[in-house]
Symmetry: D2
Subunit: 484 residues, 4 copies
């Protein structure tokens, strides 16, 4: 797998002299003005759509209404829509135009369990225990589709040539739907893919995140009356507990970039029976797919050790796993130029008050919304934080990623606060901004074949001789697992 | 609390010469023939009622239909019924007659979660994940009411004097409803109480079972992203796991009569968050309430140790606890004589085939239904096995207990097999048999004041200076806890 | 292995009518008077010898001076002594006479580590961290040799015919020297064996004690700097700790008669290195060799589970194991008669004061020395408590066992208090008493072939078709292990 | 404590223009030539002294002969020697000259347990289980004294003015002797301190290492027979094991810069007794004294949690703790210039063969001795690796540190391989080289007051308002702890 991101050595011209596309940026591009206008025109419709998906609050692989709303709108706009791709009812592809280049854009729309929240700046569940859009995916899919629509307009008007393709990608929060979409070959013919993510800042996203793998361990023992004859029982809960003991001891012997976490899902049903079944969800992460491998294998193997200790049987089942992002700095730099051209989002006093209230409620510095376009960051060798299945896409096709502000600075992610901000004007503004930045950059990709070539060259170099293989089990995607 | 059951020294006459009541047994009692006939007459109605409750399959404190069916029938028979006693909607008292003696009889009717089963001799759920009568309580309440009805007939006809009182006692399987009925004073004026339990054999029940206490431990930590900043998290799951580690180490240092078991109820909700909440249900048992005390207190205290280890907060909440049974051998001996008079239950070839099939399915010796009335057992100093909230009643009023066969020999209790047998003729026969043996013994109690005095004398001696106090928290009974 | 000890059914005559030998007891036996006198005559010499061994305080397999002192004395008395038997330098056999019967008597003489103590009734080490005779074996070997000497006198005088054989049996406290003496065939030709043990009461010893097995588990990991690169280390200490976690979880699932305990011997040498080696001594006990087997095998197997969890290698090495005692009640009854004839030991006021002081120092009731000969106890199906390698002898040859008082009632065994009492007159009296009771019973055995036959018949019946096999590894005895 | 090492902003002149002293370097300094010659002249004596200390192999606080050898030689050279300073018999100060500046130099000489080794390139203990100089301290003290001697010569000749002071600092490997020397005020009047350390490379040492704290936790339970009545025991070993469980769970919640390790020192003495005593040595590290604090306090507090879980008492005793190094880059840069002037060490073919053999034996790349002077490294914000009590000196007085090659590249430190190389010519060469580089830099310090001022200015800036306080308990140093 890729060891060095040697873009600096490979593409010195980009940095020293500026490249062709960078020079173009100096002359304001009329097509970019058109896509900006196009997003503005549709802003109310997009906002509406986003609010609907916010209210649907559907979790991974259950996003029936959300996927339909997006697909219906794409169809209505004239896209050719293919629903239920990759054996996933809520996955779809919406395409417009024909021929090269083929530029893809990703749209997510799944919610997170337990985060339901009203559009107010203090914790206040809308529906008890219901899901909520704590990762802003109600905005994500809509903005991407808005960007695709703006490009579609230009293709329809003959101002751009090629194909724009919107990917409706479900289950990013759990299971990682893109893995099966890749397996189904849906990304095989694309030149470049773009995506964005709601965030608390606005920038070209050039960190790798973490690779991860999810697997499930089940233990199978022998039930017995916990008081009358516990010696006839073999406890699946004992095995699970000894397994987590083992995992916690193992923490001393993993590198600082590795993370292991688990969720005890079932350790017995009643107090007076030696449990004959237990189940735990285990996640292993590292800053690269390579580093992940030996830890993953050891944590899997440990299940057999725990089973021996508790004299029970066990089963390890791969759920799925994702790659860290293969960052494309050439593409990111093109995006960065468009961010600089757009400038930061501006906010009203009310939005700042709302934001400071959120910051107060979540014990963060009450500095409101911070709206600056910083110079593009370095890409850390070991960037930590979260993970995304866009990582896998980035190993299949060059991928350019944007972060756009949809919540106040410092907001804890995957929290009620993201739900609140994502359901009102702060989120809507970020969504519109993202649609503009993405479509402006797509204009570059459509207009500048050399840029696409440079992006591809970096991708090829970075990937090296690594042969991508998605971390998924054989068989259909686990589309019913969330119903258990 | 009572340390010696010195009935042998105290009541030598009972054993050597036989007592007044025992001598009466020799002369067949015409009233006993009447109660037997009375049960036979109502057998179809009782069977019907039992099958209804079997089908209601309602769990602890949720037994609305089951309690209503029993109470309605009692009312229809002429009993004076008081519903919703002791702040429990499904607890009731049905009384007939007036004045002394007051003889009580207990009737349980709650089912167990997850044991739903068809009336067939192999595992076959009727409703997936639904409860089932794995402890035979569909038969329990009905037989007791049938016995009470037979006595009522005699009182109504003026052949017996006094009061018969049926206690509809919910939630025996969990929470232990009788504790609150005792607290409400419902047993204060009774002379003797009888009960029975479905079993795989027929005998006077003279073992103590185990005292137990149930409490819940909750840990409260600090959530954090399990990958991005686990060092900002304090894990409630860690605390719970270290608590169970501690409990398992403690096992070396408890007496062989002690049992500790637990049910991990919640150790986090998602894999990528350091859990800020966890909950475990802990049960401690010993062969006596006295022995229970120090272990209970230590296991409670250990929660604070685990909380320190994981740097979290914790809360221990008493659920409830029960006493071992204060066995009354004088009363049991009276019952034993009636069992010997009745003789064993006889079974059809079909019932034996059904039973052997159950035994085959549960890996037990295929010996069918064993139907023998053995001599009364010794009462073990430390009898092991299960526990019952009848133990608490037995510390408040002298209690005579019967086991009657409702399932094949060797049937694992709290299993689908008990549900199956309890829903067909094997269970029905046991129910009828119990109703007869109980009402015959009640005839003894009504007719023989000296017997009642001897029973009370043994009770007083056995209890000694122990002052009964139910192990329940202040406040109302946890009638909604099963809905969580 | 033996399941039933049906001596009551088999030998009813012994209990109901009394047997031939029992009737003999009624007529005072002149030879018994002679052995009593013989012990009294040698009492000062025996006391001296006992005090020497007390002062040698030599632990298992290191008892060079103690063994030599006993063997030298036997030689001086005219016994034929064979030293260094069974590949053990401190094991020896001392024999006198010829032909049948051959009656053996066992003598132990090893001390316990860390129990050094002055002859005072409060804790006061004689030599810091030195061993001490906390099990009274300084008295054990000497009394047995005294008894053998008394019999030797009678053989020498032609009053008895046959062979008396003293076994100098080292390492009873650890390693269990008798196992290798049995393997060497040293017990093959004996008719009956006797032994005794210092105790806090005087009685025929008719409880089985516990079978046990000792084994060692070693884990082999990979060292690494604990700070610089712990991820390159695989910790043998982790494995050991996870192994003990597993053992403690297993405690829920063993029968009340089983015990598992362990001694962590090495879990690393310095704080800043991931340990590459660890070692633990594990002991498993049950009330029978049969019950031991599955638990032993599971605890052994668990080592492999812990090794997998910590990603290290492991090795399990059998140390040795012993059988529970195959009690011979026929022989015990003969001994009991002699105890009754001898009556209890009497003590001086000073000895009682000394004893009460010991009891005060060890938090025991200050009742002094209790000196009563109770009727012979029942043999419990599951007798708990300690273990002895006499158990193995008892499976090879019928064995009669005595407990004689050498310490105050309630004295915690294996403590400084036993050392103190065993070094002064209380211990000396018990030693003399034991020598008398043993030699009196040996007189019975030599004089009464029918008794020997009955003893052998019970032995045969009790043992059944069990084929004895000592629990020892191949190869020489571990005579140097205590020097590690 | 210091948060920023702003030397770059503070001393731009050093980097851009070069400083006064750096410019001087261009003109070969005649005094530097003299100190080089001085070291060469004494090389054989120094080598001899180093080999003696190598053979003494004395561990922390037991370095009687090693300290005496160094102090005697200093005395013989004309230094004024004060032995037994800071209540430590093996600590001493050797001083020459008078007045300002006072330049100190540190010399360590303690060995490590268990590393005894012959002077051969494969593992081969010289004395079984004996200590060995696995950290090269036989060379350390000698080279520093050699450097001091060279300066002494110049002072004696009137070529330099001021005081040179050699600190004989024992117990660096354990207990950290310098802490008590600082407490005794021995560093209060020094201007600058120098030291060096044997290593596998040659460079100015500009990384911070880790702060750490050592403490001991003892648990006190109640002994009981592990088989007869374990329920009367409260196990100190259980407490210790639950404590380590807790520590391992805690690892998830510490920052990547933190390390926690422990050494189980005593968890019971025999297998058949519930242990009433256990002891564990715990070490906590972080990249700064500040970061250490909360983790240290939590791990201490956890002892109380484990004690509650096992129902035992506990005691936490501080052993000692050290600060990370306050790097002085100004001083390091002066040293760097001298390294560049000296050039790398050259090795013979035999030395390379010896080195490659060591590398082969320790699974390292067989590249021999690497001898290059690289440009001075950046100082990492969080440098990991080991720790040194020089860290504490560096918080009291500006400290300049050197690493000099005494072992082949890649040699695992604290291993037999370091012992081997440190006892032959490879080690000797490094020792001589260090003496030269150190004395050359001391020449700079004596000759260039402005350099000393700049060094002090950086020190003051880096330290900020942090008030140094050594992490040691009250009372005398633990000079007898290693004899336990």
């Amino acid at each position: 797998m890729t060891k060095n991101y040697l873009y600096i050595l490979l593409f010195p011209a980009l940095l020293v002299n500026g490249s062709a596309f960078a020079q173009k940026k100096a002359k304001p591009d009329p097509l970019k003005a058109e896509v900006i206008k196009s997003v503005d025109t549709r802003f109310d419709v997009l906002t509406d759509l986003s609010d609907k998906i916010w209210a649907f609050e559907e979790i991974a692989f259950q996003e029936t209404q959300s996927a339909a709303a997006l697909a219906d709108y794409a169809e209505q706009l004239g896209f050719k829509v293919t629903r239920g791709v990759a054996e996933i009812p809520t996955a779809f592809v919406a395409e417009y135009g024909s021929g090269s280049p083929i530029i893809g854009i990703l749209g997510e729309f799944d919610a997170l369990p337990g985060l339901s929240q009203n559009k107010v700046p203090t914790k206040s569940p809308l529906n008890d225990n219901a899901p909520g859009h704590g990762c802003g995916h109600n905005l994500f899919g809509v903005a991407s589709l808005g960007a695709a629509a703006a490009i579609k307009d230009l293709i329809a008007e003959g101002k751009l040539k090629g194909t724009v393709r919107f990917y409706g990608t479900p289950a990013e929060e759990k299971f990682f739907g893109k893995l099966w979409m890749i397996r189904a070959g849906l990304f095989d013919d694309v030149d470049v893919v773009m995506d964005w993510h709601p965030a608390a800042e606005t920038k070209a996203a050039v960190q790798k995140g973490l690779a991860l793998v999810d697997f499930q361990v089940e233990f199978f023992g022998q039930a017995a009356h916990a008081s009358a004859d516990p010696w006839n029982g073999r406890s699946a809960s004992d095995a699970l507990e000894l397994y987590t003991n083992g995992i916690n001891y193992y923490r001393e012997h993993i590198k600082p970039t590795v993370r292991i976490h688990y969720h005890i899902q079932d350790a017995g049903q009643v107090v007076n029976v030696v449990p004959d079944y237990s189940r735990i969800w285990v996640r292993v992460r590292d800053s690269s797919r390579d580093g992940l491998e030996p830890v993953w294998k050891q944590v899997e193997k440990m299940a057999s050790g725990a089973a021996i200790l508790a004299n029970v049987d066990y089963k390890v089942s791969l759920i799925s796993g994702i790659h860290e992002v293969l960052v494309n700095r050439t593409g990111s730099y093109a995006l960065q130029k468009n961010l600089e051209a757009l400038g930061p989002i501006s906010y009203t006093e009310d939005e700042q008050v709302f934001s400071k209230k959120i910051q107060e409620s979540t014990d963060k510095p009450q500095i409101g919304l911070v709206s600056i376009i910083e110079p593009m960051e370095e890409t850390d060798e070991h960037s930590m934080g979260g993970s995304t299945d866009v990582g896998d896409v980035s190993y299949v096709v060059p991928t350019i990623r944007l972060s756009a502000t949809t919540a106040p600075n410092g907001t804890p992610w995957h929290s009620w606060a993201v739900v609140a901000a994502g359901g009102m004007s702060i989120g809507h503004k970020g969504m519109g901004y993202a649609a503009k930045a993405l479509s402006m950059t797509m204009v570059d990709l459509f207009q500048n074949p050399e840029l696409v070539n440079q992006i591809k060259a970096e991708f090829k170099e970075s990937k090296g001789d690594y042969v991508y293989k998605g971390i998924i089990p054989d068989g259909p995607p686990p589309i019913h697992s969330n119903l258990q």
